[in-house]
């Protein structure tokens, strides 16, 4: 019973730390989003609040809290408040199953650097991410505004469409690891056997779907300003709007962490066993936590990089890409992975899959392309 309590305390502290890190990274993502946007447009970006503007997130938070918290007269008041709460809640819940590090022993207590190692880890991520769309849907519907409702409907249909392809790309991972637990998936990738080597197609599919799931450009149609004013958060102001925007940044970081877990070896890094031998397994595990967060931040940068490069898709293009592009491709990926397991050469099969895909595209194009009318 004593040991149980110790593990419980250690886990509680660890979850608190992960919570703080997630919120801190999300807050500073808003700053880095603006800085990166500025650098990509040859500007300097926010630099007034503190040195290099690093107090900008605080200033933004103060601004958000000071603004009038407006609730439209004809809105459904409780659902209107529940919308941003749901978004925030689901965004923060996903990180529970992400394995941030290996087992450590601190003050005589041995525990995993992971919120909870459930044997359905990946399904948990999917379940919570699917719930996340409720936050947007509820908020958009409760606003009693046609633009908000349209934005919310777009978000819902987009998430459903892309979750299919995302799930199919994860099935290939599950075939390789043979487990739904995120911990076992990471453990199967230790010492450089990262899934990206055998799953290049799966990774690209997952990345594109992650963009769509986070409602980020080029798939940010739910908040498409030119068509829908502000989309689902048109009627929101003050910190309720802040929660929606904040949830988006948390989702970005968490989806980066999930991508690192599934495809980039999680907390694995080159020289893990060397560090473990030289400085002990604790140091190696904590460094692994840093490595995972670093990988996740790299993905956050990619998210921002893409946002400031690509224009927004049209809605039919979005649906076309999801249903006729990514879902067949992910099915193909499952077949390729199965073949790789059959011949016991998953990496070779992964490379072969990419080659076959391109050859197939070229051949299909050559056969089906109509002759130009002179």
């Amino acid at each position: 019973m004593e040991l149980m309590n110790d593990v419980f305390t250690a886990k509680a502290i660890f979850i608190g730390i992960v919570f703080a890190i997630t919120l801190g990274i999300a807050a500073y993502s808003t700053y880095f989003e603006r800085k990166i946007a500025a650098f990509m447009q040859d500007r300097i970006g926010p630099d007034r609040a503190g040195p290099f503007g690093i107090l900008q997130p605080l200033a933004d938070a103060v601004k958000m809290f000071m603004k009038e918290d407006f609730i439209p007269a004809n809105s459904n008041k409780w659902l209107f408040i529940a919308g941003p709460c749901l978004s925030m809640l689901t965004a923060l819940m996903t990180s529970a199953v992400v394995p941030f590090g290996d087992t450590v022993t601190v003050a005589g207590v041995t525990f995993d650097l992971q919120g909870i190692d459930v044997n359905i880890g990946i399904l948990w991520v999917f379940g919570i991410v699917s719930l996340g769309v409720y936050g947007i849907l509820v908020g958009g519907w409760a606003s009693n505004n046609k633009y908000s409702l349209l934005g919310a409907i777009r978000a819902a249909s987009q998430n459903i469409s892309y979750e299919l392809a995302m799930g199919m790309s994860i099935i290939a991972i599950l075939m390789l690891s043979g487990s739904l637990s995120t911990k076992s998936i990471v453990e199967a990738q230790q010492a450089g056997h990262w899934n990206i080597l055998s799953q290049p197609i799966g990774f690209v599919i997952f990345l594109i779907c992650a963009f769509a799931e986070c409602n980020r450009t080029p798939f940010d149609l739910p908040e498409c300003e030119t068509e829908l004013i502000g989309g689902y958060h048109t009627e929101y102001s003050s910190m309720k709007l802040g929660f929606y925007l904040f949830a988006e940044y948390i989702n970005m970081f968490i989806s980066g962490a999930v991508m690192a877990t599934l495809f980039f070896g999680g907390y694995d890094y080159p020289g893990y066993s060397f560090i473990a031998a030289q400085f002990g397994s604790n140091a190696a595990a904590f460094l692994g936590m840093g490595a995972l967060i670093g990988k996740a931040l790299l993905f956050v940068f990619v998210f921002m990089w893409v946002r400031w490069t690509l224009p927004r898709f049209r809605y039919d293009q979005l649906m076309g890409l999801g249903w006729t592009g990514l879902i067949p491709l992910s099915m193909f990926n499952v077949v390729v992975t199965g073949f790789g397991i059959l011949i016991d050469q998953p990496i070779l099969a992964g490379i072969g899959g990419v080659v076959i895909m391109f050859v197939g595209l070229v051949v299909n194009d050559a056969l089906s392309r109509k002759k130009k009318i002179a």
Partner: protein
């Protein structure tokens, strides 16, 4: 009917496979933004850093004095007439005995006011002046106003300070 035979019909044709997949275009776009990410910003941190705006920039007005420190303006009013925005007004006064070291001409401007909200910084006053008394300096701008009282600039803000004489490139 064609007026000339110079028009060309563009054959756009069907997009190739690479164009329809968008992937090369996306990679190219990402490379472009990454290149700009590492390049030097073209903007500056304005109030702290200022750019040299050239030798003929038309900024803050100045009423010049001559080498002996006497005001050059003779209150002829030609600047006020030339001013398209009617920003300049003045009150003339006759020079008394003993004021020769203060005013160069026998008549001088007792009051000389420029309304900086009206001024359009066209430089026509500078061109109109027969005594080379008023100039728009190239190195200083009129600062931002916060109240309307600050808008009208009198002689206290316009007359040249002999300790910090204004010299333009090309003047001796």
């Amino acid at each position: 009917m064609k007026l000339s035979n110079k028009t060309k019909v563009l054959e756009q044709g069907e997009m190739t496979l690479a164009e329809r997949m968008y992937l090369p275009a996306i990679v190219g776009g990402m490379a472009t933004t990454l290149k700009h990410f590492f390049s030097k910003p073209v903007t500056i941190r304005y109030p702290e850093q200022q750019r040299y705006l050239g030798p003929i920039y038309r900024g803050h007005h100045i009423l010049k004095k001559d080498e002996q420190g006497a005001e050059r303006c003779t209150a002829c009013g030609l600047c006020a007439v030339a001013c398209p925005a009617e920003a300049i007004s003045m009150v003339a006064e006759e020079r008394k005995k003993g004021e020769e070291n203060l005013y160069r001409e026998e008549k001088y401007a007792k009051v000389y006011e420029i309304n900086m909200l009206r001024c359009i910084f066209c430089g026509l006053c500078e061109e109109a002046c027969p005594k080379e008394a008023i100039f728009l300096r190239h190195d200083k701008m009129v600062p931002v106003f916060s109240t309307r009282d600050e808008v009208i600039y009198g002689k206290d803000k316009l007359v040249e300070n002999m300790d910090q004489r204004y010299l333009r490139d090309g003047w001796k």
